[in-house]
Symmetry: C2
Subunit: 359 residues, 2 copies
């Protein structure tokens, strides 16, 4: 039927995975070394020889075996990304940025979901190092023991962290300006006239969240009106947001504004508020952090701090690549990307519509 023409047109794309340098060498009547040189770079090879080798390689559809190459060179052309959970839209966009950058440079990207669990992280690291990945982008290293941190920073493969962690030396970092983001959020709420503003955040060990909290506190403390800050800790997830809002509603009905440490928490909080009959933004104004795509679609659309998620992943890989060029002796680089407030409809000036409703 359609076979004749098809087979004629198609070139044997994946059939050449068993042909080796030796096959080409034999075919060309030269040595494998010559073939190797011709294929990679081609320096110190007569043009004609190289052409001939290339032609044969092409014809045989030669595909180099990366494992062999890797064993010989100690490099694998693969990078790794260890994050807590790819389902978090923050990380999925970051991952895309990282993968695009890696792919553009000829690297593949291993994805690891650690859930911020120390044991999982250790397992992944071990496996990745065993595979001789050329670089690692990871969430944080704070929940590893200091000794392990130290070892990691000396293990020979460049690692860039996605959190500031001033305490840890020896790693490059890429972060959004979380401190400033927290400050912007706090200031915005206070400028709206709010006197009692809550902050939902996560573990103290999470450097980025800590920065946001500090920025936020800086805003309230440096403010004239002596506003009150209530900080509530929980899990930095949608469910955590729900749960913290329940706590807030139960214990501190006087809060009129909320800065959530990320959009997931904000969305969870909004959901719980809705179920508790608390209106957003009439009863409580909320600002999130991340500017996750779906934040624009919630009820109400979420005011939030935008951070360049894709760019973070991209920058992290760029740094990795620059380190990889430096053959084992790179200087840690710290890059901080800007943030900005995105005003939508989840905030209102204090008193504007408040007390217009129930209760």
């Amino acid at each position: 039927m359609e076979t004749g023409r098809d087979n004629a047109v198609v070139q044997p794309t994946f059939s050449g995975f068993r042909v080796t340098l030796r096959d080409i060498a034999k075919e060309c009547g030269v040595d494998v070394a010559t073939v190797s040189r011709s294929l990679s770079g081609g320096y110190g090879i007569r043009k004609e020889t190289r052409q001939r080798v290339l032609a044969v390689a092409q014809r045989l559809n030669y595909q180099p075996n990366q494992l062999a190459r890797g064993l010989a060179t100690g490099k694998s052309s693969t990078l790794a990304l260890i994050i807590s959970d790819i389902r978090n839209p923050f990380f999925s966009e970051l991952a895309r940025g990282a993968e695009d950058a890696a792919s553009a440079a000829g690297y593949d990207l291993l994805l690891c979901n650690s859930d911020l669990d120390r044991l999982k992280q250790m397992r992944y690291l071990r496996s990745l190092l065993a595979k001789r990945v050329d670089g690692i982008v990871m969430n944080s290293v704070l929940d590893l023991s200091p000794g392990v941190q130290d070892e990691l920073s000396h293990c020979g493969v460049p690692i860039v962290l996605l959190s500031r962690s001033r305490e840890v030396r020896g790693f490059s970092t890429v972060t959004a300006d979380n401190l400033r983001g927290g400050f912007l959020a706090g200031k915005y709420l206070i400028d709206l006239g709010h006197q009692v503003v809550a902050h939902f955040t996560g573990s103290r060990k999470h450097g980025n969240l800590a920065d946001r909290a500090n920025g936020f506190l800086k805003a309230v403390n440096s403010s004239e009106g002596k506003p009150e800050a209530i900080v509530i800790r929980g899990h930095h997830s949608y469910e955590g947001g729900c749960e913290m809002m329940k706590r807030l509603v139960r214990n501190r009905r006087n809060a009129s504004a909320l800065f959530a440490c990320n959009d997931a928490v904000a969305l969870g909080a909004i959901r719980a508020a809705f179920e508790a009959g608390v209106r957003i933004p009439q009863d409580i104004s909320v600002v999130g952090f991340d500017n996750v795509e779906f934040g624009a679609l919630t009820r109400p659309p979420l005011t939030t701090i935008d951070q360049p998620r894709y760019g973070l992943g991209q920058a992290a890989v760029e740094i990795l690549l620059s380190h990889i060029g430096c053959e084992g002796s790179w200087a840690p680089e710290h890059r901080m990307l800007g943030v900005k407030l995105v005003e939508r409809e989840s905030c209102l000036p204090l008193g504007e519509v408040r007390r217009g409703g129930r209760q």
Copy 2:
């Protein structure tokens, strides 16, 4: 300060990456082969010898070099996932399912974003095969030429597809029951009394979307009241949804219901509707497909077809693993996971509140 104790307690976790079998062999006064055997499996080794080797390996904190092992065995203990875009929440959840399953079995997972682009897919495949991945989960293979498809199915590494693609033999597949999902959605809308119902879908080449469309059409065609179906094609994304809704509003104001091929499209459509002053669900009822997490938070909460995204990834990797056990001669396996309707608030019976509003 805290150094003394710390250093004493911590074991040298990542320091052993340069110790090789030879080192252990030397230390134990045995041959590398003995060490190799002791470490992997340990068959045909005297218990004491093995113990001794293991102890030394432990002490030296030996970490096997996977590249070397891979070169020798032809396996890499890594799998790969080629999807269109990890930022799509459908895929990020699927990826998590796949990664968890892989990780549990001792495999790492390479992430590739193809954007469904033929060239990118080819590049990834080449790279992955060169790295001797042990298995690949991929979106689809339909946009590759038939010859390439054929080659792929014979290339020696198991591949499982995330779309049905009946036309292509030689691959295993894992999908949700898209046909039934489309049918459920269509029937639901028709049972609500809608007479003119639109369907927003994507490329014909996308097997899963085609199945949903077919299921949908089956529902409308098998219905008593002879309802009318309007199918509109565009990109199966949020933006695509916006754009298709604009088209619908411009051209076919009589549609009172919409089945979107996925939640992103549904959400985009809802957004565009909102901006056009079309009320959901009063003017148009909409049902999505996927049951993406944020669908519960939109305005209004989205009625949708739930498909087990995490489970799809998990199942795909399970199949891969089972194939890997079979040493090159596995029978393609096809698994189809169930779907169900999730009723929320984006649909209304025809006429219920309709015509109560503007225009």
